[in-house]
């Protein structure tokens, strides 16, 4: 059983057929001229053995110029699976995605360095001490492994979260590059039964992480059938460069047959043209090149078309996720991925704002609505993320969940058919015939069927805005809810077989 997702019957599209075709052609041209620069030798060899023209470049870092002929691309892309299944510890939380089908799953992410605590101090009116308000005070600090556990726990209970991408960068003193991967995977998997996706810090840890997943899934074959974990790799550095280490990681993950999101994040204005046609042609070329490499490594390996395009801020030239163009690029990418029939990993909800508030609400809702409408299969929608993905707030995640419920309701298909028309005609005739002429009694059958959307869940009483206070109460409620941890026996095996997991993460040995 897979999660329901949001079915978008008639996705919003910006590009017409000719424009899609033009972008596709431009990407194919880009891959031949100027081609890619690869800092990874293995990728160069793989492309070369399939007919790419390669040329070694001089300089401090070993790199190669790779020209990918259209024919190579076309034949490599043939084996990309249209349907990708991402498993889960609880199989009812699986995600089944089809590249042709605009069904949206909502996913958390990305790795934030800062965790935002919140308190509600009370303020008293200077001239009237009977007037008091509680105002949220946000306190940033470094993210720790316990925060990741908490976040995983809350996301387990957030109804709209379909899958979990680790959203806290764990920076405890005892976390090292060597043990970071196993700890982030264990902390997340142990506190959340949904699909788990993460990047890998160190390629050396890949087999430990995979072993952990096998133990949880019940074996090698079980993991292949129910891939409870997947990876995200940004092997591309825009413009058009394959970086060395991530490309190695990507190749190794592909060899193991586990699902990977191939992502590229060009910034319009700095690392990609500021023009829509330009960033689109480039990002499409970058993602397709990564996907082609994966297919050449292992034909049929499940891959996601990962697109995280963004526009530059004109004041600082850093990312501006709040810019409306960022949403336009994302929607275009969704459309391009659908053109190839490859499930798409897209982005929405990332904001420039540093704290939850009016700016963050407006920025995120704007892109959440429009990008969701375009029908990406795997939408990284930045639950709880602030300041361009560098800050995580649980309070914001709780708010986002409520807002996505509204978006999901909005995207429901209209129910207009012969039976419905007949039934409403009957209703209209009968109500008009009564003295009061009110349809209220006909509300009842639909009131509890979920057909009617609910009230805003954080509506306060009186004249003050209590959204944050009420969302905070909800957050506390969710934090107190238990989650289903990995069972004791499996936990013991994981600790025995997978080195480096912090003993304090073992829920069965904490008390002793």
């Amino acid at each position: 059983m897979a999660r329901e997702g949001i079915h978008v019957e008639r996705p919003y599209e910006r590009l017409n057929k000719d424009q899609v075709e033009l972008i596709h052609q431009a990407s194919m041209e880009i891959l031949q001229d100027p081609g890619l620069i690869s800092f990874n030798e293995e990728a160069v060899n793989i492309f070369h053995s399939h007919g790419a023209e390669v040329e070694s470049l001089g300089g401090d870092h070993r790199s190669w110029h790779v020209k990918l002929p259209e024919q190579l691309m076309t034949s490599a892309l043939k084996s990309v699976p249209k349907t990708v299944t991402l498993g889960a510890r609880n199989p009812d939380n699986s995600l089944v995605m089809n590249g042709d089908q605009p069904k949206v799953y909502l996913i958390t992410g990305s790795e934030t360095n800062i965790w935002l605590d919140v308190e509600f101090p009370e303020y008293v009116h200077k001239s009237d001490s009977s007037k008091k308000i509680r105002v949220p005070e946000f306190k940033p600090r470094r993210g720790m492994v316990e925060d990741l556990c908490q976040s995983a726990r809350v996301c387990e209970h957030l109804e709209m979260v379909d899958g979990f991408i680790r959203n806290v960068n764990i920076q405890d003193r005892d976390i090292t590059p060597e043990n970071k991967d196993v700890n982030k995977f264990f902390a997340s998997l142990n506190n959340n039964t949904k699909h788990f996706m993460s990047g890998l810090t160190s390629l050396d840890q890949l087999d430990n992480v995979v072993r952990m997943a096998e133990l949880i899934a019940g074996g090698k074959k079980q993991l292949a059938d129910n891939p409870i974990i997947s990876f995200i790799t940004c092997l591309v550095k825009s413009p058009l460069q394959f970086v060395d280490d991530t490309t190695s990681t990507f190749i190794e993950i592909c060899r193991r047959g586990l699902p990977v999101a191939v992502s590229s994040s060009p910034q319009a204005g700095t690392t990609a043209p500021i023009k829509e046609a330009g960033i689109m042609a480039q990002i499409n070329a970058e993602v397709l090149a990564g996907i082609a490499l994966g297919q050449l490594v292992k034909p049929g390996v499940p891959l996601l078309y990962g697109s995280v395009p963004v526009r530059a801020r004109m004041d600082t030239l850093s990312d501006s996720y709040g810019a409306v163009e960022t949403s336009q690029y994302n929607i275009d990418c969704v459309q391009m991925a659908r053109f190839y029939g490859i499930p798409n990993y897209s982005t929405s909800g990332v904001c420039d704002s540093k704290i939850p508030g009016q700016q963050s609400s407006i920025e995120r809702l704007f892109s959440d609505i429009v990008v969701a409408m375009s029908g990406p299969q795997y939408l990284h929608c930045a639950f709880g993320l602030l300041e361009c993905n560098s800050v995580f707030s649980l309070l914001q995640a709780v708010l986002d969940d409520a807002h996505f419920k509204m978006i999901k309701h909005f995207l429901k298909q209209p129910r207009v058919d012969q039976t419905e028309i007949e039934s409403v005609l009957k209703q209209i005739r009968s109500v008009v015939d009564t003295p009061q002429k009110l349809y209220i009694s006909h509300i009842r059958p639909v009131l509890r069927s979920g057909e009617i959307s609910g009230l805003y869940p954080f509506e306060g009483s009186g004249e003050t805005d209590q959204v944050f206070e009420l969302a905070f109460d909800r957050m506390e409620e969710l934090l107190a809810k238990p989650v289903q941890h990995i069972d004791e026996e499996t936990t013991a095996r994981i600790f025995a077989e997978v080195p480096g997991i912090l003993p304090r993460l073992n829920v069965y040995e904490r008390g002793s």
Partner: protein, 229 residues
């Protein structure tokens, strides 16, 4: 048997089913007798009217009220139950006097002249009927004279006036002055409601009560009834 019938009436009030056509809250109820059919049956089998009213109808409404307060029921549910009680009262009305039972009282309601807003007034009507009052609804855009005549003819315990426009709220005062001029002001209590009016406004024009919504309308009428007795 009679106990069972009263239970069924109460249950159907809770379900908000006027007649067998209604669906109610739970699946599979359509087709089974609703409150009006059950009341007819109960009367035929000789169940005392007093029991039908107090144990069946009011008993059911009490539970509905509790469910509403608990957030389990919404306004449409409450109105459906009130409509069922109102429809039952229509059937019982002619027999109440005969069996020596006093009704809770008669209320005449109207939206004043030049005001077409009647949704709120209709809701008030349904809820008052559900609470056991006999309600005569004159409609909307009603001439002051028509209201005065109705008070003279029907001798209601209450008159409820509704206005939704700042330009028509003054008509309420006209009605009260006209009742005074016709020596009818002491006939019954006057309550008013509608978005632009308030408790303060009610007092300023010499009305006896104000209700901010349908539930308050019932509460005000009940409080004024209690004052009388």
């Amino acid at each position: 048997m009679p106990e069972n019938m009263i239970d069924q009436i109460r249950e159907n009030v809770i379900q908000g089913r006027v007649s067998s056509d209604d669906e109610g809250m739970e699946e599979g109820m359509a087709g089974q007798p609703g409150v009006t059919e059950l009341v007819e049956q109960a009367l035929e089998s000789g169940v005392p009217i007093r029991d039908i009213v107090s144990k069946g109808l009011s008993g059911g409404m009490d539970i509905v009220g509790k469910k509403f307060e608990a957030g389990e029921y919404f306004i449409p549910d409450m109105l459906a139950s009130a409509e069922a009680v109102g429809a039952a009262m229509d059937i019982l009305q002619p027999r109440l006097a005969k069996s020596g039972i006093k009704t809770k009282g008669t209320v005449i309601v109207a939206t004043v002249k030049d005001d077409l807003h009647d949704i709120g007034k209709n809701i008030v009507t349904i809820l008052l009927r559900g609470a056991g009052y006999v309600v005569k609804d004159l409609g909307n855009n009603i001439d002051t004279q028509v209201i005065v005549d109705a008070v003279r003819d029907e001798k209601p315990e209450f008159l409820g006036l509704s206005a939704l426009l700042t330009s028509t709220m003054a008509r309420m005062e006209d009605v009260i002055r006209s009742l005074e001029e016709n020596g009818l002001r002491e006939q019954g209590k006057i309550i008013i409601g509608g978005a632009p009016v308030s408790d303060e406004f009610a007092r300023s024009i010499g009305a006896d009560g104000y209700g901010a919504d349908g539930f308050q309308a019932v509460a005000v009428v009940e409080a004024l009834t209690a004052e009388e007795t």
